[in-house]
């Protein structure tokens, strides 16, 4: 994994080129390494699907919050303290027993960073991006989600304007769980719409 050990002969050119670019930008005062390190650390450690899971658990337990979330996702998400780049216009869509939403970004890999962190490999993969639009039921099945034929599937293509977040269906048998107990059940995959939330 390490790309900078062992001398320049072994370092992949792309790592060196990245280093070269960073040096030039730093010398020209265009980036501040300290600020940049903070950004990287934030996305490596603090921003992740846990944020989105908290949003979902709140929506499951607070009908008034759920209403606000579906009406104005960005504002309702900001209520919980989550905002930032790629989260300026988040639209939340709700899955149910009869309607299933799934999210893709066909052009690149747009993703709601403040609530889900950075996208996983499969989301960025050309095959997922191309196929989920054309044959969502098949792709979801391949990813382990079998949906009945009468479930209506809607594929949402993220754009530079809109980031989609799926509010998954609350699993049966969790009526007795508190908001805090529900949070760990909610997965990133469920919030992109390629999985359901399972009861514990």
């Amino acid at each position: 994994m390490t790309t900078t050990d062992g001398g320049p002969g072994e370092a992949p050119p792309v790592a060196l080129r990245t280093e070269a670019l960073e040096q030039l930008l730093t010398e020209r005062g265009l980036i501040d390494p300290k600020v940049m390190n903070e950004i990287i650390t934030t996305y490596e450690t603090n921003v992740g699907p846990l944020n989105g899971a908290k949003v979902v658990a709140r929506a499951w337990t607070d009908p008034e919050y759920r209403r606000r979330l579906l009406q104005d996702g960005t504002a309702a998400i900001a209520e919980l303290g989550f905002s930032g780049p790629q989260g300026e216009h988040i639209v939340v869509v709700e899955n149910s027993a009869t309607t299933h939403h799934v999210v893709v970004c066909t052009l690149c890999s747009c993703y709601p960073w403040p609530v889900l962190g950075l996208p996983p490999s499969w989301y960025k993969d050309p095959a997922y991006r191309a196929r989920v639009v054309k044959e969502p039921r098949t792709v979801l099945s391949e990813m382990g989600l079998e949906l009945d034929d009468d479930v209506r599937i809607t594929v949402h293509d993220s754009t530079s304007e809109v980031r989609w977040l799926v509010l998954p269906e609350r699993p049966a048998g969790t009526e007795h769980l508190s908001e805090e107990q529900l949070v760990p059940l909610v997965t990133r995959e469920a919030m992109v719409g390629v999985a359901k939330v399972a009861a514990p």
Binding site: P13, E19, L21, E44, T45, N46, K124
Partner: protein, 137 residues
């Protein structure tokens, strides 16, 4: 933005939930540069995004034999955007890359920093040495 870490649960942050956000340290640097530069107003995010879309589309149209590597295209898009702004040109980056490659064999990036980077984790968390110094030649 400072949610407590859920290390074990399925909703844990990316580095803990079975898939690393960055496979290699340079990927995190490329990511950090793009975000920093847009936040600093050197370019807007839509500008960078358009460049990224163009790079991905070109890669897919060419359908090369090599495996898809998102952050390679990300880096290329970053360079495209900077060149479009006349901030840094491709030739300048190439020249600096060659200069870096000329570092003597056995050159240790970590030497002289006094802290022990644990490269064993290899997920871009311990790469401070990549940028905090410049190599005099």
């Amino acid at each position: 933005m400072t949610a407590p870490l859920d290390i074990e649960g399925p909703a844990a942050p990316p580095r803990f939930n079975g898939e690393l956000v960055f496979a290699e340290p340079w990927e995190s640097r490329a990511f950090g540069m793009a975000v920093s530069l847009s936040e600093a107003g050197v370019f807007t995010w839509p500008e960078f995004q358009a460049a990224l879309i163009a790079r991905i589309a070109a890669w897919e149209a060419a359908a090369p034999d090599e495996p898809y590597h998102y952050y390679r295209l990300w880096l290329a898009a970053l360079e495209d955007t900077l060149a479009g702004r006349c901030a840094v040109t491709a030739d300048e980056v190439t020249a600096r890359t060659l200069a870096l490659a000329q570092r003597p064999p056995g050159h240790d990036h970590r030497a002289g920093h006094g802290h022990d980077h644990d490269h064993g984790h290899g997920h871009g968390h311990d790469h401070d040495h990549d940028h905090e110094h410049h190599h005099a030649h």
